[in-house]
C-alpha cells in the first residue's frame, strides 16, 4: 500500500509526459481522456489513502530519495499524507478530474490541445507535490511548480502579447512571495536544523524556541502565502491571470493553487500558535484584501474578472479565519469555495463558450433560455457563494463570521460588509448575464447554444457539491450529532485549540439571521436594478467618481507600475548607461588608453636629432654617477 503515495504523484506526471511528448500525434479525444484518466487514477488512489488515514490519524510517510544532503542538512524527496493532506488531495484530484473532462470539450479544436492537457497534468502533479511533500522543501518544489504551470497556462495563448504579460506578472509576483517563503525556510533551517515537518513541528511544540525568530518565520511564510493566495499587496496578478483559458481559472486560480497559502498556514499552525503578531497581521491583511477585492468586484464588467476579484475576496476571508486561529473554518471554506468557485468559473466558461469567446457581461443577458443547465448551475453557485441558507457557502462563511465575532468585533463588522458586497456583485453578475434582455450581436445570438455534456456534467456534479458541501462541517444547531465532522477530522493536524470561545447557540442563530437578511436585501436590490429596470452596467470609460475608482481597481496597478516597475527599469538603464558603460568601462578603457597616450608623448622625445639624444644620454649619465656617489 505504501507506494500509493508515489503513484498518486507519478500518475499525473506520466500523463504530462505522454500527452506532452506524443500528444501531438494522437487524436484530441485520446489525449484528453489520457490526461483525465491520469488524474482519475490519482483521485481513486487518494480515496484509498483517505480511507487509510481515516483509520490511522498518524498518517503515512514515504521517502523516495535523498534530494540534498549537505553538511548537517539533509532534505529528502519524501511524501506524506495526513488528514489535512488527504482532504486537499481529494479536492485537488477530484475537482481536477472534473475540470479535465470539462476541458476536453472546452478546448476542442485548439491548436495547443495536447499542450493544454500536458500543462494541466503537470499542474496536478506539482499541486500534489505541494500538499503531499513531507518537508518544507517539497512544499517549495510544488509551490514554485504550480507557479510555473500557472505561468504556462495563463500565457497559453502566447500569440497575444497581453496574455504573455499577464503570465509574467503572475510569475514574478509569485516569485516575490517565494522569496519570502524561501527566507522563511532558511530561518527554519537555522532555528530547527531541519525542514522536515515532523522534526520542525515537534521541536516547535516544545515551545522553547526564540519567539522572535518564530514570528519572523511565520511572517515570512505568510509573505509566501500572500503571493500565492493573492493577498494585499501581491494580489494584482490574479485578476490578470484570467487571460488563461477558463478551465485554468477554475482549477488553478480558484479551486486549488491559490489556496496553497491557506494550506501553508494551516500546515504550520504549530508555529503560528507561538506567533500572535503574525496572526494579527494575517487577520488584518485578510480583511483588507477581502473588502478591497469585493469593492473592486462591484464594478467589473468582465465575467471572469468579477469571479477573480471574488476569489481574492474569499481568500481574504479565509485568511481572516486563519488570523483568528480558526483553521477548521478556513479549511472548510477552502473546500466549499473550491466547489462553488470552480462551478462558477466553469459556468462562466460555458457562457463564454456559448457566446463564442465573449466575456463582457454587458453584451450578454437573457441566457437563461438558451443555456438552461448553465443557468441553473450558475444560480446554485451564486447562491452558494452568497450564503443562501443551507447551501455550502452558508455554513462555511457563517462559521468564519462566528469565529471572527468572538475574536474581534470590528473585523467582524468588516467581514460582514465584505459578505454583503459579495452577495451584491455576484447577484449583479448573475442577473446581468442570465436575465434581462440579450445584448449581443446577431451572430452571437444565432450561435448561442447549450454546452456539450462533457461540460455540463461536471457543472452538475459541482452544483450538487456546492449545495451539499456544508454537510462536511455542520454547526451544532443544525447538525446535532453530525456536527463538526471536519473539525474532528482535522484535529490530529490542528490540535484542539485551547480555551476556544464557544459562542452560544443564540448568538450563532442571530449571526446567521444577519447573514440571511443581508442576502435578502442584496437580492432585492440587484433584482430591482438589473432585472426589473434592466440597467446595463456602464462601460469602464463611462464611470465617474467612486465607480471610476473601482472600475480602475483603485489604480493599484498604476501605482505599482510607477512605484516599483518603472524605478527598477530606470535603475537598470541608469546602471547600464551611466555606471557600467560611462563609469566602469570608461575607466578601464582610460587605463588602457593612458599607455597609448604616453607612447604618443614619448614619440616627441625621440625626435630624430642626434644632439638631443646625446644631451639626454649625458644628463642621464650625470644623474646616475651623481646618485651613485652621493647617496
Amino acid at each position: 500500500m505504501m507506494q500509493n503515495l508515489a503513484l498518486i504523484i507519478l500518475s499525473p506526471l506520466a500523463g504530462f509526459l505522454i500527452t506532452g511528448l506524443i500528444g501531438k500525434r494522437l487524436p484530441e479525444k485520446v489525449t484528453g481522456w489520457l490526461g483525465s484518466l491520469a488524474v482519475l487514477v490519482s483521485f481513486v488512489l487518494s480515496i484509498s489513502v483517505f480511507n487509510q488515514i481515516a483509520a490511522n490519524p498518524a498518517g503515512m510517510h514515504q521517502k523516495l530519495f535523498t534530494f540534498l544532503s549537505v553538511g548537517s542538512l539533509q532534505i529528502d524527496f519524501a511524501l506524506q499524507a495526513d488528514r489535512l493532506t488527504a482532504l486537499m488531495m481529494l479536492v485537488v484530484t477530484g475537482i481536477g478530474f472534473l475540470i479535465h473532462v470539462y476541458s476536453i470539450a472546452y478546448m476542442h479544436g485548439d491548436a495547443g490541445f495536447y499542450k493544454f492537457f500536458a500543462y494541466l497534468n503537470l499542474f496536478v502533479f506539482n499541486m500534489l507535490v505541494l500538499i503531499m511533500g513531507a518537508n518544507f522543501l517539497m512544499l517549495f518544489f510544488g509551490w514554485e511548480g504550480v507557479g510555473l504551470c500557472s505561468y504556462l497556462l495563463i500565457g497559453f495563448w502566447y500569440e497575444n502579447a497581453e496574455y504573455g504579460k499577464a503570465a509574467r506578472k503572475a510569475f514574478v509576483m509569485n516569485r516575490i512571495g517565494d522569496l519570502g517563503l524561501l527566507l522563511g525556510l532558511f530561518l527554519i533551517i537555522f532555528e530547527f536544523g531541519s525542514l522536515d515537518y515532523h522534526t520542525v513541528f515537534e521541536a516547535a511544540a516544545r515551545g522553547d524556541h526564540n519567539l522572535g525568530v518564530i514570528t519572523a518565520i511565520c511572517i515570512l511564510l505568510f509573505v509566501g502565502a500572500m503571493g500565492k493566495s493573492a493577498q494585499i499587496p501581491l494580489y494584482t496578478w490574479l485578476p490578470d491571470a484570467m487571460a488563461g483559458p477558463t478551465p485554468v481559472s477554475a482549477l488553478i486560480h480558484a479551486a486549488t493553487m491559490v489556496t496553497a497559502g491557506i494550506y501553508l498556514v494551516v500546515r504550520c499552525n504549530t508555529l503560528y500558535h507561538f506567533a500572535p503578531v503574525a496572526q494579527e497581521l494575517i487577520l488584518y491583511v485578510g480583511i483588507a484584501t477581502s473588502i478591497l477585492a469585493a469593492l473592486i468586484g462591484l464594478k467589473q464588467n468582465d465575467i471572469k474578472k468579477v469571479l477573480a476579484y471574488s476569489t481574492v475576496s474569499q481568500l481574504g476571508l479565509m485568511f481572516v479565519a486563519l488570523g483568528c486561529g480558526a483553521y477548521t473554518a478556513a479549511m472548510f471554506h477552502l473546500t466549499t469555495h473550491a466547489f462553488f468557485k470552480a462551478l462558477l468559473f466553469l459556468g462562466s466558461g460555458s457562457v463564454i463558450h456559448g457566446m463564442g469567446g465573449e466575456q463582457d457581461i454587458r453584451r450578454m443577458g437573457a441566457l437563461k433560455a438558451s443555456m438552461p443547465l448553465t443557468f441553473w448551475t450558475f444560480l446554485i453557485g451564486t447562491l452558494a457563494i452568497a450564503g443562501f441558507p443551507f447551501m455550502s457557502g452558508f455554513f462555511s462563511k457563517d462559521e468564519i463570521l462566528a469565529e471572527v465575532f468572538v475574536h474581534n468585533k470590528v473585523v467582524w463588522a468588516l467581514a460582514v460588509g465584505s459578505a454583503l458586497l459579495t452577495s451584491i456583485y455576484m447577484l449583479r453578475l448573475f442577473f446581468v448575464t442570465f436575465l434581462g434582455s440579450f445584448r449581443g450581436t446577431d451572430e452571437q445570438k444565432h450561435h448561442l447554444h447549450e454546452s456539450p455534456w462533457m461540460m455540463t456534467v461536471p457543472l452538475a456534479i459541482l452544483a450538487i457539491l456546492s449545495i451539499g458541501g456544508g454537510l462536511l462541517n455542520l454547526p451544532e444547531i443544525v447538525g446535532g450529532g453530525m456536527a463538526h465532522t471536519l473539525k474532528h477530522w482535522l484535529e490530529p493536524v490542528t490540535g484542539k485549540p485551547a480555551g476556544e470561545h464557544a459562542i452560544s447557540h443564540g448568538t450563532e442563530l442571530a449571526l446567521m439571521g444577519v447573514a440571511v437578511a443581508m442576502l435578502l436585501g442584496a437580492w432585492l436590490y440587484t433584482r430591482n436594478k438589473y432585472q426589473s429596470k434592466g440597467v446595463v452596467p456602464e462601460a469602464d470609460e463611462a464611470q465617474e467618481g467612486t465607480g471610476r475608482l473601482l472600475s480602475h481597481k483603485f489604480y493599484v496597478d498604476e501605482v505599482y507600475d510607477a512605484a516599483i516597475v518603472q524605478p527598477v527599469n530606470t535603475t537598470g538603464e541608469i546602471l547600464y548607461e551611466q555606471a557600467d558603460r560611462k563609469g566602469i568601462d570608461r575607466i578601464v578603457n582610460a587605463l588602457g588608453n593612458l599607455w597609448v597616450w604616453l607612447g604618443g608623448l614619448y614619440k616627441k622625445v625621440q625626435n630624430g636629432n642626434l644632439e638631443y639624444y646625446l644631451i639626454f644620454m649625458v644628463a642621464g649619465l650625470i644623474l646616475i654617477v651623481g646618485f651613485n656617489l652621493f647617496r
Binding site: N607, G608, N609, L610, E611, L614, I615, V618
Partner: protein, 108 residues
C-alpha cells in the same frame, strides 16, 4: 721605470683631475658642436684623456697592463676613426654637408 720618475713627483690626483677636465672638454664638445668631423675629434680627445689616465695609473701602481691597454685603445681608435671617416664621406656624398643636425629623418 724608476720610482722617482716625474710621475711620482706629481700627485696622482692631479692626473685624475686633468684627464677628467680633458674628458669633459671632449664631452661638451660632442654635445655642443654639430659638425661631424669636430665631433669625431672631440671623441678622440676623450679617448686621449682616458689614455692619459691609464698611463698615470699604470705608472703610479707599477703595473704594466694599463699601458698595454693604452696601445689597444690607440689602435682601435685609429680603426674606428677610419671607419668613421668613411661613413662621413658617404654621408657627405649624399647630403653635401657634414652637419649632423640635418640627419633627423629617422624619428618617432
Amino acid at each position: 721605470m724608476k720610482p722617482d720618475s716625474i710621475f711620482h713627483t706629481v700627485e696622482i690626483s692631479h692626473y685624475i683631475y686633468l684627464s677628467c677636465v680633458l674628458f669633459c672638454i671632449g664631452l661638451f664638445g660632442v654635445l655642443f658642436r654639430r659638425n661631424a668631423i669636430v665631433l669625431l675629434m672631440c671623441i678622440e680627445l676623450m679617448l686621449n684623456a682616458v689614455n692619459l689616465l691609464f698611463t698615470a695609473f699604470s705608472s703610479y701602481m707599477g703595473d704594466s697592463s694599463g699601458q698595454l691597454f693604452v696601445f689597444f685603445v690607440m689602435v682601435v681608435a685609429a680603426a674606428e676613426a677610419a671607419v668613421g671617416l668613411a661613413i662621413l664621406v658617404m654621408m657627405f656624398r649624399n647630403t653635401r654637408t657634414t652637419d649632423v643636425s640635418f640627419l633627423s629623418n629617422l624619428k618617432g
